[in-house]
Structures are given as C-alpha cells and as structure tokens.
C-alpha cells in the first residue's frame, strides 16, 4: 500500500490508508468547513452580545472589537494547528506538558496576584495564565500516555494510575492558586479521557462513592471561605431562601429574572432592560448568557445550545473515526473539556450549579480562554484531517 494511495485515502477516507503526506492545499480542502463555520458563528454571536452589553458605556466600548480581533487571531491559530500531523502532536505532548507544568510552578513562585488569586505569570509585557494552557496540555499528554500504554496491550487497573498522577499534579497546583473553576475543568477533561480509555466500572463506582463521601470533607477543610459562601448561597437558593441579597444570591436571582423575562422570543437586540440597568455583574464574561437569553429569548438560547451540541457531536464523531488511539483520546478529551465548560457555565447562570467562575467558550470576553478553546479545536480538526494516520506504537512517554 504505502505511499501510492494517499490521494485515494483522502477522497475515500480509507481508514487503512497509512500515508499522511498531504499538501497544505489538500489539507485545507479536507477540513470540515461546515463545522468551522458553526464555531465562527458562535464567536460572532458572542461579539454581538458584548456589543449589547457595552454599547451605552463608552469606557468599555472597545471590548467587542477586541473580542473579534482575538477570535480572528485564534482562528488563524486553529487552522494552523489543524495542519499539524497527529504524529507531531504526539511527539510534542510530553515537552508541552512539562513546559506548562514548569509555568504553573513558576506561577506558584513568582506569579502576580490579580483579583485575589495567583494565576498570572508576567513575562515582559505579556501576562499569561498557564492554568488555561494546562487544559490542552493535559489532554494531549493523557492521549499520548494511553496511546503508548495500549500499544503494549490492554490497560489494567494499575495502568491507569500514571494517568491519574499526570492529571492530579497540575490540578492540585491550580487548586492552590486558587482557581476552582479551572481545577474542575481539568478533572473533567482528564476524567473523560480515563473513562474513554476503559477504566473498569468497579473503579468508577468506587471513586464516585468516594467523591460523594468526600464532599463534606472538601467543604470543611479544602474550600476557602469565599468558596464556601458561594456553595452556601447556591444551596439556599435551591431551597428558595436568600441570605445574601446583595452578593452572589442577588446575582443568581437577577440572572434568573433577566433570563425568564426574555420569554420565548426575547426583548430584541439591545433592548434588554434587566441587563442594561446593571443588575448583573460580570455580564461580559461569565454571565453573558443572561444577555442572550433576555434579548434573544428561548429561541436564542435554544439555537446556541443546538450549535454547541452539533459542534461537540461532530467532535466526538471525529474522535471515533480516528485510526490512532492518540487521535481518538485527544479529540475525545477536547470534546469532554469544552462540554464541561458549557455545562458548568450554563448550569451556573441558570442557578443549577454554584457560581464557580467558568466562562462560556468563545462567547465570554477573555483572551486566554479563547486561545485555549480554539487551539483545542485545532487539535480536533487535525484529528479529522489526519484521521487515517497511524502512529508509531512505541516511544518514550
């Protein structure tokens, strides 16, 4: 077979085709452009909503444009990354993981504190949040680990232990910053890959039980005061009480009113009264969904959720179609990560989950998160373009 059939491999998606030496033009042609269009659509919706948040506020007037510019940059990055073969991703996984881990430790040691948490590392004029990059690094690293582990045969219970270590080391570092939202996302993305790698049901059941039992311990000994307060407020509002009328509880309550009053078709673009009267803080970041729901109504919220469902389902399909284990786990992990972003964000805004500070991908304002999510999609797209690529089954982890 070998090198003679590569053209056919692309056209027919022949799963056994081994060759991947495609030209850039052919790779671009092989990209799933409908999916990419959907991704761009979500980001542009976000820009419109940001405009609605800031348009009567001259101080923040630049946010929508900044969002759009960041998206454009991230878009180019995504397309660029999609051209990188899976074998390259696999080779780079370990170096990237180690570098990001080093940055995380750097944050612990030299990082600057913003908004009460030590998340930022300032290198000259650039401020980066290594915890964001860790999400993708971890996905790649676990994919590589399982790719190589499975090459040696089925992975037993003990075979999953290194994966847990690879996940828990950065997760604890990020938890110390403290950044609860990112820690959860990291655990979710890692957990999904470990699950996909065939973690035994007994272990899953056991850890679920342990998880539930540890909730009181985490609550009492691990959480910071302000985090505990958020959980309290959340539990109270589930029971319809509200002890914190001007803080988190207020935010959740006002978010509900804004969303609910949007009704079926919304109040119209720029016409949201609840959001415009500044009832809801963090509107341009974590709570931007309230603006969508109020101004575009249930219809708007439904179509946003639908768009995400199609994007993520497509991503999962790409994962299944990959011939290499690395590609499967990488794409699957990305899908799991983004899905958790969305579930946490929507659940939080709808008052179903505590306020943990997770943004809505591509829609909320924020540069590092935008770059992380788009790079992650770049990996998924690479998995599509190089789906028939088979990778070396041995190597150093």
């Amino acid at each position: 077979m070998g090198t003679f059939s590569y053209a056919g491999a692309v056209r027919t998606s022949n799963p056994s085709g081994a060759a991947t030496k495609l030209g850039i033009g052919e790779k671009l042609g092989a990209l799933p452009w409908t999916l990419i269009l959907l991704i761009a659509g979500v980001a542009i919706t976000g820009t419109g909503m940001l405009f609605s948040v800031v348009y009567d506020n001259p101080v923040e007037a630049g946010l929508p444009m900044a969002h759009l510019v960041r998206f454009a940059v991230a878009f180019v990055v995504m397309i660029g990354l999609s051209l990188v073969p899976l074998s390259m991703w696999s080779r780079l996984a370990l170096p990237i993981y180690i570098a990001t881990l080093a940055l995380l430790i750097g944050v612990e040691l030299f990082g600057s504190v913003r908004g009460g948490a030590q998340r930022w590392l300032e290198i000259g004029p650039i401020a980066v949040q290594p915890s964001e990059f860790m999400k993708l690094s971890l996905v790649l690293m676990l994919a590589r680990y399982y790719h190589l582990a499975m090459a040696r045969g089925p992975v037993g219970v003990l075979g999953h232990i290194p994966a847990f270590i690879l996940m828990l080391v950065p997760a604890s570092l990020i938890f110390l910053q403290p950044d609860f939202g990112t820690t959860l996302t990291l655990l979710a993305a890692g957990g999904i890959i470990i699950f996909l790698a065939g973690l035994g049901w007994r272990v899953i059941g056991g850890s679920a039980l342990a998880g539930v039992l540890s909730v009181p311990l985490v609550y009492s000994y691990v959480l910071e005061d302000y985090q505990r307060e958020r959980v309290d407020t959340f539990v109270e509002q589930l029971y319809g009480e509200n002890s914190d009328a001007l803080g988190d509880g207020y935010q959740i309550e006002q978010a509900k009113i804004a969303i609910g009053s949007g009704g079926l078709t919304g109040k119209g673009f720029l016409e949201g009264t609840q959001t415009k009267l500044d009832y809801i803080p963090e509107q341009h970041t974590d709570f931007i969904l309230t603006v969508i729901a109020e101004e575009l109504g249930f219809v708007g919220a439904f179509f946003l959720m639908l768009a995400w469902a199609v994007i993520l389902g497509w991503g999962l399909y790409i994962a299944i179609k990959c011939s290499s284990a690395f590609g499967r786990f990488a794409a699957g992990g990305v899908v799991g990560m983004v899905a958790f972003y969305i579930v946490f964000n929507v659940g939080m805004v709808l008052g179903l989950l505590p306020v943990v500070g997770v943004p809505m991908p591509l829609v909320s304002y924020g540069g590092t998160a935008m770059l992380t999510v788009m790079s992650a999609f770049g990996v998924v797209l690479s998995g599509h373009v190089h789906r028939s690529e088979t990778l070396a089954r041995s190597g150093v982890i």
């Binding site: 699950f195 996909l196 509900k256 609910g260 009053s261 016409e271």
Partner: protein, 661 residues
C-alpha cells in the same frame, strides 16, 4: 502486510497473557464515546429544558418580576466640598440651577416634544438636532439633557408645562460655582463632567462592581470631577460619598415617587487654602492689562498669601463644558490665560539671581566682600566680551554696591571664579531646580544648569564662558516666580528652613516619590544672609539703588528691601551693542524684556516676601518694582498673614443662589 501479521501475533500474545480481559480497545472506545454522547445529550436536554421552564413556562412570572424591579436604589451624588480662603471666603461653592431632561422611550415623537419645548424656552434648531443625536446614542429609557442653567422664569414655565410634555423631567440641580471667577482660575482649577479618560483614572483601582457603580454615579447630571488645580489633586477629599435614593419606578425605569435616602450622601470635606482672596484680588487689579505673575509668601510659615497669574480664564465657563470656539480663543491668546505663570512658567531670573551668585561667592570665599572689581562696562573672557547693562561702566564695585546698582561686570568676574558646579549647588539651597507639591496640578522646576545637566540636555560639555551668563541669571538658567519668592523668603528670614504651603486644611499633599519635588532644605549661613539683606535694602533704600523710588511703602516709615531684574528675551549681538541697544519701546511686544522684582517688607522685620514678573514689561525697576511695592503695602495693611479663622463658611454661595431662584 508484515505489519498486520505482527499485530496479529502481538494480539495473540496479549490474549494468552491476559485471559480475563478480552475487550478490543477500539470497540470499547466507541461504546464509551457513545455513552458520553448519551449522557451529554441528556445534560443538554436538561439545560434546554431549564431554559424552557424559566423562559416559556414561567416567563410571565419573571417578566412580572422584572417590572417589579420597581423599587430601585439610585445613586445619589454627594455635594462637593467647598474651597475657601484663609479667612473663610468661599472660592469654590455651589449654585442651584434648573435643568430639563427627556427620556426617548416615553417621549414618543422626540422631534415634536422638542419643538414644543422650543416654544417655552430658547432651544435653537441645531441644539434640538444635537439632543436627538445624543438620545439616539444611548438606551431609550435613559434621560438626555435638554437644557440647563435655566433662568427663574424659564424654570417656572417649564415646571408648569412639564406634565403635558411626555417624557420630560424638570428638576433643580446643584452645579459647581466659582464666585471669584478669574481670580483663582489656576489655583483652584475647575471641575467638569467626567470624560472617558477621567472615568478610566477614577476607576483604575476599583473592583468591577465598584467601578460599575462609579460609572453610574458619574453619569448623574450633577456629578462633576476635578480636571485641574486643587479640584483635581484634592478630588478624593472634596468628592464625598454617594448615598442611595430609594425610588419607585415604572416598568421602563421612570421615577414615579421618591421614598427617601438610605444612606444619605455624605458631603465632601472642605479645603482651606492659605491665600488671602482680597490680597489676590488687589494684586490682579494692580497688574491691570499687563500679563505676568506674582507670589506673596508669609516669611515665617511659607504660607502662600497670593498666587497670581494674569490674565486668566473664568473657570465657571468650564463647569458645563466650554465650547471649542471659546477654548480656541483662550488658547490663541498670546498672553497665555490658560497657563499658571507663577507655578508653571519658567523665566530667566535675570539680576534677581545675583543674590544667589553673591551667596555662592561668600560660601566659597573666592572674594572678600569688600574687595572692589573695576567695571568699565565690559568683561573679557577668552576672546569674547561680555557687556554690563551700563555701557559706560560702574567704576570700582564691592559686593554691596554691585548688588545695589546691579553691576553685571562684578558678577561676571565672581561667577567665573566660583565655577558652575558650586554655583548650581548654592542655587539649589535657595530652592531652584525643584518644585513643591502644593496640592494642585503643575509645578515647573526650571533649570539649574551644570556640566551634568548640559551633557544630558544638549549632549555637550559645559563651556566655562557660559558660567558668566549664569552669573547674571541668564543663559540656561530658568526659574518660576514661586522659586523666586521662596528664594526671597529664605533670604528675608536669614537662613533656616522654609517651604511654600498652599493647602491649610485638606488632604495630605506630600509628593510621594515624584522626582520633581526633592527639596533637601540645605541651610544657608545667617551671616551671609545678613550681608545680602543689607545690600537688598541698599537697592530700595539708598540713593543710587536701582529701585530707590519704590522703597517707601507709604505706610509711614515702612520700607521694603528688594532686587530688580530684567530678563532678556532675545539675543543682542555685538554689532547691535556697538550701534546702541534698541530700546524696549521700539521693539515688538514679544521681544521686549521681562521685568522682574523680588522683595520683602518690612525691611528691618521681614514678614512678607514677594516676587513679581511683568511679561515683556521692560526694565525691572520701572515696571515690576512699583507693583511689588503696592502688593507688599496691601499685605501689610490687610495684615494678610494673621492666623486663619477658617470654617465660618456658608455651604452655598448665597449671592448667586438668589440669582437662580
């Protein structure tokens, strides 16, 4: 093919080794991915269901709740603190004035309502167009300003018809007012509606919610922020804390009823400054049409009693935003009314600097003060000639006579002997080359040149010949009128430490680590100061002194001591000197010399120090000395430096309140 065989072989091996596990990882992956898809789908349906519940099933309830967001807390702007002079005279206060605003959403046909208003008050078509544009740029339920500063009649008429005009609100508001207008334009500065840049500055240290509240507060039509002067630097002190006003609104946010404050806004604190407003007024009037600056200081405390820069602008014009045309007129004026000449203006000090050179000579002991230097009108250094202002020469001059008659030749000679480094060191003891944080914006430092400065500023080493120019306060040397007043006060009090002070009661005005404000307060030798004082009294008190005619203050035996100065603005060539220097009267105004005078009084018991500069006024003895004399006389007559009484303050400027209502 070989590969596939190998894979088969390895698969067989695995099967043998792990017999219990027979799962194909690829198949298992698809199964588990499908499970994730299923769980995800269920979560998605749940979230969409929740949207459906909140928005469609309970949508009406929440719409009702949104409307019931009726009792609203509005930010109530605090009253700004007053700025008063040392005797409690209000310099910055408030004035109440009527204003009209309109809400687009309620007005319906904006154009029609505006033309109705146009029948009641003066509202030109272009103003109406501007209101329409302003209104279309913000949310339809926010108010847009239609007119402000209504006269009593207009206010009454609008109030009467407001009920018939949809969306129109007529209210009384407080605006900042500067009852003394131009007198304190530069010192007080002014306030204005917060611009985008102001908001960035005001909210930079705030958290998100706090910043959002601040931005809402500054949207209030009564809210202003300091833009310059004391109003800017003491902004935090003056601003006070906003309160909340509980109001009942209808669904679209219109206020139907006020329920009261909770909490009440806290008025900002007052600032008491050291200036005597009447003395300031007198000094400005004394300048007449001339442009210039004057600083009067209390010799004992350093309190600034008058801080004049004239002409000035009227800060009241800026409170509601000045029109571009008016602003351009101010900017285009060659007498620089926008500029605080006393604090920000730098001038060559001219002969007023000779006391510093003489002090440096005494400190370095390069000359005996009794030693005489012969002046024939010229001084040679290298192959160049420096001219004395008196072409025929002064004859033999000792130090006292050289100051008394302002002989340039004497100072060329001793400056040459002292050298630039030592000269610069002494100048800094008098306060040159630095500024003081007075609690207001600005503060020029001028230049005390030396080799290091010139290397940095010009990229060249110092030439010894340039030291001669510094000897008569020309060349690179430059100073502010405030620095000249500080110098004079330090001489008058005979050494010791003294720094100027402007804010008597107000925020801490210490400069932090701003490099401009680095007064090290090196002491001056009292014996040297005695000698300088004696020579300065000769200037005004003896026949032959350059300001003999201005020495008597006309208060029955009270004299001032001082020193004249004339600062050249243009270069005078040797050829022109040979022909005869062109007289000031024959030059175009901007080429004429600046007239300077520094002095203190009474000469035998110094209480007040003054510096005066009359821009392009000609000679110091004719143009500046009489002004300084009259200002000092007024200060003594008024007893300006007596202890401030403060705090007998009325919170609103009563005279203008009568005017408005």
């Amino acid at each position: 093919m070989a590969k596939r065989r190998k894979r088969k072989a390895s698969f067989a091996r695995t099967q043998r080794n792990v017999q219990r596990r027979m799962v194909d990882p690829e198949v298992d992956f698809i199964k588990r991915a499908a499970m994730i898809g299923g769980v995800g789908g269920a979560l998605w349906l749940g979230l969409i269901g929740r949207f459906y519940q909140l928005q469609v099933l309970e949508g009406d309830v929440y719409s009702e709740l949104a409307k019931e967001n009726r009792v609203r807390l509005d930010l109530a702007p605090p009253k700004r603190g007053l700025i008063v002079d040392r005797f409690g005279q209000a310099l910055a206060s408030h004035r109440s004035a009527g204003r009209v605003s309109i809400v687009r959403e309620q007005a319906g046909d904006m154009q029609a309502v505006l033309s109705e208003i146009g029948k009641l008050i003066d509202l030109p078509a272009e103003r109406q167009a501007r209101i329409l544009r302003d209104a279309s740029r913000q949310a339809s339920f926010l108010p847009t300003l239609v007119a402000r500063e209504l006269t009593y009649e207009d206010f009454a008429r609008m109030k009467l018809y407001a009920a018939e005009l949809p969306g129109v609100d007529v209210a009384m508001g407080l605006t900042r007012s500067y009852p003394r207008g131009r007198d304190f334009a530069h010192v007080l500065g002014y306030v204005a509606k917060a611009s985008q840049r102001d908001l960035v500055r005001l909210t930079e240290d705030m958290g998100e919610i706090e910043a959002r509240n601040a931005r809402r507060l500054y949207r209030h039509p009564d809210m202003r922020t300091g833009r310059s002067g004391i109003e800017l630097v003491c902004d935090d002190w003056l601003t006070g804390d906003p309160g909340s006003r509980e109001v009942v609104t209808n669904a679209s946010g219109r206020i139907l009823e006020e329920l009261g404050y909770k909490p009440e806004p806290q008025q900002g604190k007052d600032v008491v400054i050291t200036i005597d407003a009447e003395l300031q007024r007198f000094a400005i009037e004394r300048f007449g049409d001339e442009s210039g600056a004057a600083v009067v200081m209390d010799v004992e405390t350093g309190a600034i009693l008058a801080f004049v820069s004239t002409p000035a602008f009227d800060p009241n014009d800026f409170v509601n935003g000045i029109s571009q045309t008016d602003y351009d007129v101010l900017r285009g004026n060659d007498r620089a009314p926008l500029y605080h000449k006393a604090y920000d203006g730098v001038y060559p000090p001219g002969s007023t600097f000779k006391m510093v050179v003489a002090t440096a000579a005494l400190e370095t002991e390069i000359i005996d003060p009794r030693e005489r230097i012969y002046c024939n009108g010229r001084h040679r250094f290298g192959n160049r000639t420096w001219s004395c202002w008196k072409p025929e020469g002064h004859g033999a001059m000792d130090m006292r006579n050289a100051i008394k008659q302002s002989c340039d030749t004497y100072f060329y000679e001793i400056a040459e002997r002292i050298g630039i480094e030592k000269l610069a060191e002494t100048a800094k003891k008098f306060g040159f080359g630095m500024s003081w944080a007075l609690g207001m914006t600005g503060g020029a430092v001028g230049v005390v040149p030396n080799d290091e400065w010139k290397q940095e500023a010009r990229g060249e080493p110092w030439f010894e010949g340039e030291t001669l120019n510094i000897g008569i306060g020309q060349g690179y040397m430059s100073a502010t009128p405030l620095q000249l007043a500080v110098m004079t006060a330090r001489i008058a009090r005979g050494g010791g430490v003294l720094a100027p002070k402007l804010v008597h009661e107000g925020p801490d005005t210490s400069p932090g680590d701003d490099k401009r404000f680095t007064d090290t307060q090196q002491p001056l030798n009292p014996d040297h100061m005695k000698r300088i004082q004696d020579a300065m009294f000769a200037v005004t008190g003896e026949w032959g002194g350059t300001a003999r005619r201005s020495g008597d203050l006309g208060l029955g035996g009270v004299f001032m001591a001082g020193k004249t100065g004339t600062a050249q603005v243009r270069y005078i060539s040797q050829a022109e000197r040979a022909r005869g220097v062109i007289a000031n009267e024959n030059l175009e105004r901007k080429l004429r010399d600046h007239a300077l005078f520094v002095g203190y009084a009474p000469h035998d018991n110094p209480q007040y120090a003054v510096s005066v500069i009359v821009e392009h006024g000609g000679g110091g003895s004719a143009a500046a000395a009489p002004v300084a004399r009259d200002i000092l006389a007024a200060a003594i007559r008024r007893d300006s430096r007596r202890t401030p009484t403060g705090n007998q303050v009325s919170s609103t400027d009563s005279s203008s309140e009568k005017g408005a209502l």
